[in-house]
Subunit: 179 residues, 6 copies
C-alpha cells in the first residue's frame, strides 16, 4: 500500500463479512433490502477511498435486484472493487453472497454498481487518479464500465442517442433484432 | 382505514421525517448514500404494507441518483406511495427532500422507484390487491409505471425487445432519431 | 418555506412514520415506552426547529400515558406541531397512532406536550418568533396552551396560586364543586 | 436475592451509568432529551422487573423537567427504585445526575416518576407484590406516592375532586391561601 | 466529588446495569461475548475517567473467561473500579453478574482486568494521580495488581524473568514444585 | 464450500472491513477498545461457524493489547481463522490492521486469540470436527495453539504445572535463564 505504487484494481478491493442480526430483518426474519444497500454502500465507499485516497461520496446506484432472501443468522459477504475511473467519478462493482453456515451452502445474492465521486474538503468534485486493470477479467469489466456509464447517462437523460459511443453496437443489434 | 375501503394510492402514502445524526454521516459531515437508501427502503416497505396488508419484501431498486448532499443536523423528508400493482409486485415511488431549517430552504434530493413483492408466511410471492389511482397525477404515474417495468425487465435481461409493449413508441422514436 | 413567510402552525407540522423493529421491544414483543418517548422527542424537535429556525432543546415533557401497546412489526405514526410560543419556549403537541397493517386498523396511542426552548450557539435561551394559528382547532390549542403552561409552572412550584390567570376559572369551579 | 426474601425497596434499586456518545447529542453537542427519557425508561423497567419478577410495561410518565444540559463525553448516572405498589401498578422514582469528570463536578439533572404495570404473557395486568419501605426516606416516598397518584388520576381526568383522599389537605390549603 | 478530595478507590467505582435486547444476542438468544466486552470497556473507561479526570484509552485487556451464558431479557450488572495506578496506566477491575429477574437468581459471569492509559489532547500518555486504597479488600487488590502487571509484561514479552520483582515468590514456588 | 469437503483452515477464514464512525470513538476521535473487541468477536464467531457448521459461543478471550490508536474515518480490517480444534473448543486467531486511506499507510493494530465452543440447540457443548492445516504457517499456528491452550488453562487455574506437556520446554528454559 505504498503511496508510490501503481493504482491497480486489486488495491481497491474490499471484503466485508457480516452476520445478520434481528434488527436487520423484517417480520419473517429475512434481511431488509435497505439494510443490505447500506452495507454495500459502506463497502463501495471503502473501495473508492482506497483508490482515490480522499473522501468519496455516493453519486448514484444502478438498479439492484434482490435475487435471494437472506435469513437472520446467515453470513453475508460483500466484495467490492473499482472497475474504472471517469475523471472525478469511479464505477464500483459489488458482488454479494449469503452463506448458510449450517448447510455449508453459499449463493450469489446481488451484483450491483455504485458510482462514487472524489471530493475536496468543501465537497467539490476533484479528479481521481486513473486505474490500471491487470487480469483479463479486470480488463473486461473496465470495458463494460464504459457501456454501463453511457446507459446510466441515457437513463438519467444526460446523454442523447446520437452521442452514444460504446453502446452503439449493442443498440444496432437491438434494432436489427427488431427489424 | 377500514378493511372494506377501496384500495387507493392515497391509502398507501407514507411520510417519514428524520434528523441527520453524526453516525449517519461521512468524514465531511454529509449523509452517506447507503444510509438514505436504508431509510427509503423502510418508507417504501410501509407503503407496500399499507397497500397489500401482508409482509412485503424488496425485490429491486431502480437506479438512484444523489443530486444534493445532505448535511448533519438537516432534516430529511421521504414521501412514498404505491404507483401500480403487477400481480404480486408493486412499484413504490419515493421522493426525498432535505431541509436546512436555519436557512428555511428545502430542496429535492432524490426520486426513486423500489419494487416490492407481497409474500406469505413462507416468503412465497402472493398476489397483491389492485390499486386505484384517483388524481390525474396518480393516473400518469400508473401509466409510466408500466413503461418503467418493461425497461426494468429489459435491463435485467428478462424481456426481449420484440415482446416490449408499453415502451414500443419510445424505442421506435429512439431508432428514428438515430436513423 | 420561504424565510419571509408568516410563521404559521402548519409550517411547523412534522409527520414521522416508523416500523417497530425487534430492538424497540420488550420480552413480549411490545414497544418499550422509552423508545417511543425518544421518537416523539425527535419529531417535536423537528417542529420546534421548523418554527424557530435555530437549535432548540427539550425543556420539559408533560405527563404521558401509554394507552395501547404497540407490537413489533406495527407501524407508528407521530404527528407534531408547535401550539404556542412563550418568548423563548414553545409548546409542541404530539399525537401518536399505531397501525396494524394486516388488520387494516389504526388506533390513537398517545397525546403529549413537549416544551422546547430556542437557544444560541452557547446554548443560552433566545426569543423564538411568534406563531400564527389559522384554523379554529389551532386557535383552540393556542388558548389551551396558556392554561397548560400555568398548570406546568404550578406543578413545578414556579407559579403561586394567586398569580394564576388563565387557569382561574377552572380552579374556582373546582372549589365550588367541593363546597 | 432469594425468592423468599421480603420485598424491600432496596431490592428494586437500579444504578445505570452511561457515557454520552456523539449520536446521543444534538447539533450543539448536548444530549437530546428523548435519549435521556429512553435510558430512564430502561432503568425504571429494571427496577419494576426486580420487584415484580415478571414482565412490566410503562403505563405513564409524570412530567419531567430538563434542568441542566448534559454534554457529549460527560457521564450520566441514573438511579431508580420502586416507591410504592398500587395493586397492578408501581411508581418508580428516578434521579439523574451528570458528571463532568474533568472538572470533577456532579450535578442533579432530573427527578422523575414512571408508572409501570406488571403483566402476564398475554400482556394483561396482574397484581404486583406489595413493597416494604424500610428507611425514613423510603417511608416518606411511600406516602408521597399516594398523593402523586391522586394528582396523576385527576390530571388524567380519572378521579373527581370529591373522591380525592390523600391530596385533600394540600387542596384545602390552596383554597385557604387563595381566600 | 470535590477536586480537592483524596483520590480513593471508592471514587472510581462505576455500576452499569443493562437489559439484554435482541440485537445483543446470537441465534440461540444468548448474549454475544463481544457485546459484553464492549459494555465492560465502557464501564472501565468511566472508572478510569473518574480517577484520572482526563481522557483515558484502553491499553490492554487481560484474558477473560465467559463462565455462564446470559439470555435475552436478563439483566446484566457490571461493577468496575481502579485497583492501582502505574504512572500513566491504571488497572481497572470488572465484575459482571447476570440476573434472571423472574427466578430471582443472580450469578457471577466474569471477572476481568482492563488497563487504561491517561492521555493528553494529542493522545500522548501522561501521568495519572496515585490512588489510595482504604479497605482491606482494596489493599489486597492493590498488591495483586502489581503481580498481575508483571505477568502481563512477561506475557507481552516486555519483561525478562530476571527483572521480575512481585511475582518472584510465585515463580520460585513453581520451580520448587517442579523440582 | 461443499459439505463433503475436507475441513481446512482456509475454509474458516473471514475478512471483515469497517470504516470507523463517530459513535465508535471516544472524545479524542479514537476508536474505543471495546468497540474493536466487539467487531473481533463477530469475525471470530463467523470463522467458528464456518468450521463447526453449528452455533458457536465465545468461551474466552486471551489478553489483547491495543498497540496503535485507530482514528475516526480510518478503515479497520480484521482477519480471522480457526487455528486448532480441541474436542468442543476452537482457537480462533485474529489479526487487525488499520488503514489511513489518505496517507495510503497500513499498520498492524492487534493480534488476538478467542476461544469458541460449538453448542447444540440447548447451548450444551458438542464436539467440533477436526481441522486440517495445510501451509507451513498453518501448521506452525496449529502447534503453537496447543502451547497457548496450556498457558490459558494454567492462568485460569485449571492445569497444574506437573501436568503441562507442550509448554514444558519453554518453562525449563525460563528456569535455566533464572539459574
Amino acid at each position: 500500500m505504498s503511496p508510490d505504487a501503481r493504482k491497480t484494481v486489486r488495491r481497491s478491493r474490499c471484503v466485508m463479512t457480516e452476520i445478520i442480526l434481528p434488527n436487520d430483518t423484517n417480520n419473517l426474519g429475512n434481511m431488509m433490502g435497505g439494510r443490505l444497500l447500506y452495507l454495500m454502500d459502506k463497502a463501495a465507499a471503502i473501495s473508492a477511498l482506497r483508490h482515490a485516497n480522499r473522501t468519496c461520496v455516493t453519486a448514484s446506484v444502478d438498479s439492484v435486484e434482490f435475487q435471494s432472501p437472506i435469513r437472520q443468522g446467515e453470513v453475508v459477504v460483500i466484495e467490492s472493487q473499482v472497475n474504472r475511473v471517469f475523471r472525478t467519478s469511479m464505477e464500483v462493482e459489488l458482488n454479494v453472497w449469503a452463506e448458510d453456515t449450517r448447510a455449508q451452502t453459499r449463493r450469489i445474492c446481488n451484483r450491483a454498481f455504485y458510482t462514487f465521486v472524489a471530493v475536496d474538503d468543501e465537497a467539490r468534485p476533484v479528479p481521481a487518479p486513473p486505474i490500471f486493470p491487470e487480469t483479463p477479467e479486470e480488463h473486461e469489466r473496465y470495458e463494460a464500465a464504459a457501456r454501463r456509464r453511457e446507459l446510466r447517462l441515457m437513463l438519467a437523460g444526460r446523454l442523447k442517442l446520437q452521442d452514444v459511443e460504446h453502446l452503439r453496437d449493442d443498440l444496432l443489434e437491438l434494432v436489427r433484432q427488431r427489424g
